[in-house]
Symmetry: none
Subunit: 227 residues, 2 copies
DNA sequence: TCCCAATATTAAAAAATTGTAAACAATCTC
DNA sequence: GAGATTGTTTACAATTTTTTAATATTGGGA
């Protein structure tokens, strides 16, 4: 089955159904996958399950405020780098400053223009973007995310799904060391539990297929890709 | 943590001297190095000379508009990734969208609150640092946390995990003496119990690998890093 | 100066981490 | 349904890292 590159996921948390609907609609039209939550606690739960790329938090919500949600999420390693946008009716400088200092990446005041929100979301993603497209080239390696295909020189290398995703992750930032935990989160997902040797075995298979020394082990830390 | 590197440089382009002055003052107070330009053409010239980390562009300027400046800069490789913020009196959705789509990272409408501007600047830098990863440079030593790599001159030095973390701690504040207790807490964690000689042994290994005299013993107190 | 506690040095033991091969279950293909 | 492919686990080997323990050395105060 043809698996496309998975769309970026956005979580919106707001207690006003109208806002949820309008914003969802516009972001979906832009090609994002959208999930919603009606209050702060739900936002945290849903975030843990779906691990979204970006989170939009209403500041005033029953249960926990957006600020509180942000603070809690930021303490979890999985959400350390997630983009967070605050949404609020409070057009108040000191609140905005507080929002940005709490760890928010943007702060938008209501009434919001869905188009503006979409633009800001796009702008933040543009900045974060790691891969310049679906095809990545490193040295003589070409990684095509759409075709799930890796080419080395003129030779085609067929990798299984997990192998491919693992390689795609490592090559998304050459030379960066990916912690084993990080790899588990990003390749296997937050909720899946697999044994300790699973990563090793996959690394081994990639090494076999690509030739020995493109992936370096950093003992006690993780792995990195290097040409 | 606070680290001593060269301050980040910000270029502000606006034709209103008052704005230049107020914004400069506030950003300088925050520790940034600020350079200014009075119009679009000057902004491009100055940018090419000083290569700032972030550029704040007024949209309405004589000569070239902020949008035009942005477009021109974005075509140059040196400014492909520079953060750009637009500043404008036009509180108009479609203009804001245009700004963000032109390649701006943020769009702030006048009247601006200097504190809010500063917060947004900080938030953007915080985000960029996360993406870029932070490298520490002391003398000819380069410590790259993300790559888990230490380079001395052109030579790569391979350190084991504890060695790396210990060195990273000591170099995070050069010349500061770290108490043995402090080192234990920060490198080994609060709950781990290890013998007294353990630190010494690791220090020794680092000394061997980096060459003798970069870590100084302060008897009865702790250790400090110094070039 | 001498003494003594603090630190250096060493080597070897202990612990932790990773590599490997083989086996199994799940899934997909034909 | 047989056979291939994939993902995972297991058990063990190989390796590296970390710690300990035993001994030497150092430097500052009495």
């Amino acid at each position: 089955m043809a698996q496309e590159t998975k769309p970026r996921t956005i979580l919106i948390a707001d207690d006003e159904p109208d806002i949820l609907e309008i914003v969802s609609f516009n972001l979906q039209a832009e090609g994002y996958e959208v999930i919603t939550a009606k209050n702060g606690n739900e936002a945290i739960e849903v975030a843990k399950i779906h691990n979204p790329d970006l989170i939009i938090l209403d500041v005033m919500m029953p249960g926990k405020t957006g600020f509180e949600v942000c603070k809690i999420l930021r303490t979890l390693p999985a959400f350390e780098n997630t983009i967070i946008i605050f949404l609020t009716a409070l057009n108040d400088d000191s609140t905005e400053i507080k929002g940005l200092e709490t760890g928010g990446d943007d702060y938008i005041t209501k009434p919001i223009s869905p188009k503006v929100l979409t633009s800001r979301v796009n702008a933040l993603f543009r900045r974060i973007i790691k891969e310049t497209g679906s095809v990545l080239q490193i040295g003589d390696l070409i990684i095509d995310r759409e075709k799930y295909l890796v080419t080395s020189g003129s030779e085609e290398i067929s990798l299984a799904r997990k192998e491919f995703e693992l390689l795609a992750l490592l090559t998304s930032k050459p030379s960066k060391v990916f912690l084993r935990n990080e790899i588990l989160h990003k390749v296997w997902g937050t909720d899946v539990i697999v044994g300790d040797r699973t990563i090793d075995v996959h690394i081994r298979k990639i090494r076999q297929k690509l030739g020995g020394d493109c992936i370096t082990t950093v003992k006690g830390v993780g792995y990195k890709f290097q040409m």
